[in-house]
Symmetry: C2
Subunit: 374 residues, 2 copies
């Protein structure tokens, strides 16, 4: 079969930057939160090397913000996540597992406190606004849940500080990880956070005006020209090397954050009032039976993957590999998957049933060695 | 720019029928409820004529079922929609607007009562399970909200009865519109409803077993061979001619069902306890200021559309056209859009600002004349 096209329509929403990235010749899209997310420009490996060696501008408008605003915003924000966020002051963000009553993951957003009575959940691919809105209405909370017209634009890569300093001034360099500050562009205030979906470092700019956004895109490209800036997007190779899981791929509604390796974001011993916390405590008590792992797999380049591939310990299937790719830098195949806890110790030798044959897969620490910025 | 590809991944879920439709050479996909929905096989117009003149098999697994089950299922189902569904007995379905507290549309599903204590909301493209689950948890209702592994397979077109009679027996012909009955295939019970997203008539089969689903797909193709059955999907031309709106395109979270032409599905004068009903009553009292319309637009074939096109009454922009296509049968452009109520009377002459120039657009009754089965 020829590779299928994506049927573009209004329902798959454009972003303020779509005209720019199409001018750059985006090769492929995926869909994320009912919005277009570019997924390839010059090719997976070319995009990977460019991200590592230069700097990229990413249209990640699909990272929608779910805004909680009002007297009960702090209470609802805490109910939504099993991580104790009572200490988050304005400007601070962090990864927060959002679970249902059974401890299963609904989303794994980054939350920012943007005002005393206002939070932004920067979401992965599920309609958190409906979950939060249903809860608020059902509980009679005094909080407004909305999806404001905020479209993140990311700059990722080792030269990110230099590029954005030319746009916003040198104070941008002082931004701490998962913190935002307000900077101005053409007189328009914009929240800029040190964050983003790569291990190469960089920023996310929360663009709340389409015309300003398009101008900002062009200004960043101009400022980045000496650093060979170009369009990019979350990159399969880079994110697997960095051990960055994708909700919907590596972790799903079937999994808990304890299975997904997010123990440190679960405040199991706190006294917060959070949905799913009791279920996670019970899971800890009875034992977590499967966990996410990284593997290096032998053999030549694996084929492109669409479905999980079964992985065995001896003859017994113990789980599956959900993301895998050839790493041109490590010169082996690297993958993420979920297996029975007994098969998770580093160094365990497993057998991966790939569509093109059997491979030996060894459990590795993630991030994969040398995956962070060189 | 070349047409962009869709980046296939596990997050954009396959269906039990994906292997079949890829064998048939699907040309393009869209994404709907985090799942692949085919959108073109042989070309928009060829697919249209085939749907009208022969019969098609559609992979509409993306029409996910949100299941409410338990003692409070009926109460929650009624809370979720402004249509009085107290009279729905087991086996009956119907279109039900799902609104938020302000009367804005969250979804426009078809609900089926599948048991006394169980409902299936067959949803359009938003995570209704999160809305319903949040409400149930917030209100402390005794009901389980889930998305069972049920994957609808549709047969649409004038020969649908003949084809399915060969698979399930002649009793299938007795199925009434928006009713389901249970039929068996290879000993496996399957719910089959007379419903579907075209005006050509047909059925939707709720497949709850992947292997049975693949076998059923093949059996339907075999039974349909004398009728020139082939793969298909909801067709832009056919659905505009029929006046079938798409949630996310023609109606969105910004609109109420009264604006979306769904008055007859809003039980404004009932005494049901339903979210959003008070807001809709208030809107009726103060007057609905914009409404959906159908238009016929002059000139040659319109270009493919991705964004709403503004439409004017004289010099004043009164709304936008959200779906438009060339109808090869009516030999003119047909579209759907939302305009100020004062511009909605049939015969009103408006001016459409299409990207390739200005066209005269006349408000028409929908379905467009002759749109239903000839």
């Amino acid at each position: 079969m020829n590779a299928p096209l994506i049927a573009l329509s209004r329902r798959l929403r454009n972003t303020p930057f779509t005209s720019r990235i199409e001018r750059f010749g985006v090769q492929a899209y995926t869909v994320y939160n009912h919005m277009l997310l570019p997924s390839r420009f010059r090719g997976l490996e070319e995009d990977y090397w460019h991200l590592r060696n230069a700097v990229q501008i990413w249209d990640v408008a699909c990272e929608r913000q779910v805004q909680l605003k009002g007297p009960d915003a702090a209470r609802l924000a805490q109910l939504l996540t099993v991580r104790d966020i009572s200490g988050f002051d304005v400007g601070r963000g962090g990864l927060v597992p959002v679970c249902d009553h059974d401890g299963h993951l609904i989303n794994d957003p980054v939350v920012f406190r943007v005002a005393d009575d206002c939070y932004w959940f920067s979401i992965s691919d599920s309609d958190v606004a409906l979950w939060a809105g249903g809860l608020a209405l059902g509980m009679g909370l005094d909080v407004e849940v909305s999806e404001p017209d905020v479209n993140p634009l990311a700059v990722q890569g080792r030269h990110s500080d230099d590029v954005l300093a030319k746009v916003f001034g040198d104070s941008i360099r002082e931004t701490k990880f998962f913190r935002f500050a307000t900077h101005t562009f053409k007189g328009h205030p914009l929240r800029v956070a040190r964050s983003g979906w790569s291990a190469q470092g960089g920023f996310e700019i929360f663009v709340d005006d389409w015309e300003i956004g398009a101008q900002l895109y062009d200004a960043i490209c101009e400022a980045g020209a000496p650093y060979d800036i170009g369009p990019g997007c979350p990159n399969l190779i880079e994110r697997i090397e960095a051990g960055l899981m994708t909700y919907g791929t590596d972790i799903t509604r079937e999994h808990t954050p304890l299975e997904g390796g997010m123990e440190k974001y679960c405040s199991l011993d706190s006294s917060i009032d959070a949905i799913g916390l009791d279920a996670l405590r019970a899971q800890r008590a009875s034992g977590v039976t499967r966990k996410i792992i990284g593997v290096m797999a032998t053999g030549d380049r694996v084929p492109a993957q669409r479905d999980p591939w079964p992985i065995r310990n001896g003859d017994r299937v113990v789980g599956s590999i959900t993301s895998i790719t050839w790493s041109p830098r490590l010169e082996c195949n690297v993958g993420l998957g979920m297996v029975e806890t007994s098969s998770t110790p580093i160094g365990t030798t497993l057998t991966l049933d790939a569509p093109d044959g059997t491979r030996t897969a060894t459990v590795c620490a993630v991030p994969f060695e040398g995956a962070s910025q060189r």
